[in-house]
């Protein structure tokens, strides 16, 4: 069990990094990486949402979707509704968390507030839920997988935003300025992460 968890942790953060190896969540990766400060806020929100949504979706999958029911004499299995249910549940969950945060923890709401609605239907969040189902993880393993995947996302985002802050001040050839050099940098960063591929 402990061995398995270690594999999940290292695998999710470094080897199968969501952004740099699986290419999930590229939109916030490019959009919110201009400043390290906003990247930190976004990372915090992603860690928060992905951990929570992995927990909830794996519970729903384990106890409702994967079970076979008898309805009016026919066997019914609702596994095919997986993606639909996950998206609705994650979106509602984030909405709920936002409302509760606003009431009980204004400082936390101030730090994460604007980023929470941005990532409700992010593909990385749905990807974490979907991939842990495909891998056959239990509830605890799914939650750890979601948390570590989010950490991997945060690592990539913060590294990339630090690089972009430096790029702002560098002398970049005119045709490559802006997003172009950002994409090239992201590609090189992804190649760097390929170096981890033998770890797990």
């Amino acid at each position: 069990m402990a061995d398995n968890i270690l594999t999940i942790t290292i695998g999710a953060i470094l080897v199968n990094n969501f952004v740099l190896a699986k290419f999930l969540g590229i939109c916030p990766f490019l959009g919110v990486s201009k400043k390290t400060k906003t990247a930190l806020g976004m990372s915090g929100a992603v860690v928060f949402v992905m951990t929570l949504s992995s927990l909830v979706t794996s519970v729903i999958y384990k106890y409702i979707l994967s079970k076979t029911f008898m309805v009016a004499g026919t066997e019914v299995n609702l596994t095919f509704l997986k993606i639909l249910v996950f998206i609705v549940v994650i979106a509602s969950l984030v909405q709920l968390v936002e409302i509760i945060l606003q009431k009980f923890s204004p400082p936390l709401y101030k730090a994460l507030g604007i980023f929470l609605p941005l990532i409700t239907t992010n593909c990385a969040v749905l990807g974490a839920a979907e991939l842990s189902v495909q891998a056959g993880y239990g509830v605890l393993e799914s939650t750890i997988f979601g948390f570590c995947s989010a950490l991997g996302f945060a690592l990539a985002l913060i590294l990339f935003s630090s690089l972009r802050e430096k790029l702002d001040l560098a002398q970049v050839p005119v045709p490559l300025q802006g997003t172009a050099i950002g994409l090239i940098t992201a590609g090189i960063l992804a190649m760097v992460f390929m170096g981890f591929s033998g770890l797990v």
Binding site: L78, L81, V85, L96, I99, A170, Q171
Partner: protein, 276 residues
Amino acid sequence: MTIILTSLVFASLLGAILALIIGTAAKAFAVESDPRIETVTDMLPGANCGGCGYAGCADFAKAVVEGAAMPSGCPVAPASDSARIAEYLGITSEEKEKMVAVVRCSGTISTTVRSPYNGIQDCRSAVLVAGGAKGCDYGCLGLASCARACPFNAIEIRDGLAVVHPELCVGCGKCVDVCPKDLIVLVPASVEVHVYCNSPEKGAVKRKVCKTACIACRKCIKAADNEDQMIVKGFLVETNYDNPPLPDLVEKAACPTTALRLASKHAAGEYEGVSK
């Protein structure tokens, strides 16, 4: 058929339950906020520059409504807007003079240069390398740290010199904080005449590295209506912003190095190439 019906019922049930939960939560955990804060936020410029000392316009609006700040504390909003906010809240707001930034340097690349610089294109980085590439140790480095900090695009870099456009500048003071040479000052917008030099060195030393330095020849002091209008500080003359000279002083004084300039003409680039 059963599968279709079951999934329909399941999906509607799920949607209904989630809607119920969120609806209840939104009612139960509703946060009461003063509606005036939103109205005042809408009346503010919405630039979120932070020139007022608060984190953005919404934060400032909250402070104004709670009485912790005056509507005139916003350096961007014109006096008419602050008065409108004060009227809306039923308070009296004191007037505040509009300020603009002035970069106290006139040394362009063509008038003053010491060495090439190919490092990080930022004044604060360049200043670490022997004080930057300009011949004058006190001059503007022209690497646009201030222009990048300006939320209103009021600073232009022209021929290696930062030039403030007074009609765009709102006096938020962001550029003042980033300039590593402390060249930028906020002055009353009504004053037109400024000395575009900040070097405390002796006149002869300054002239060797810059053609448009102030050499403290005192021509402007003699030409002024009142001797108080220009102040001598060491080897440098400064406008007395408490008792400012009239714009025609620039013409009357005929500054031999053209360090004494009108802000509007300096921004329009009318002094370029006139120095001897």
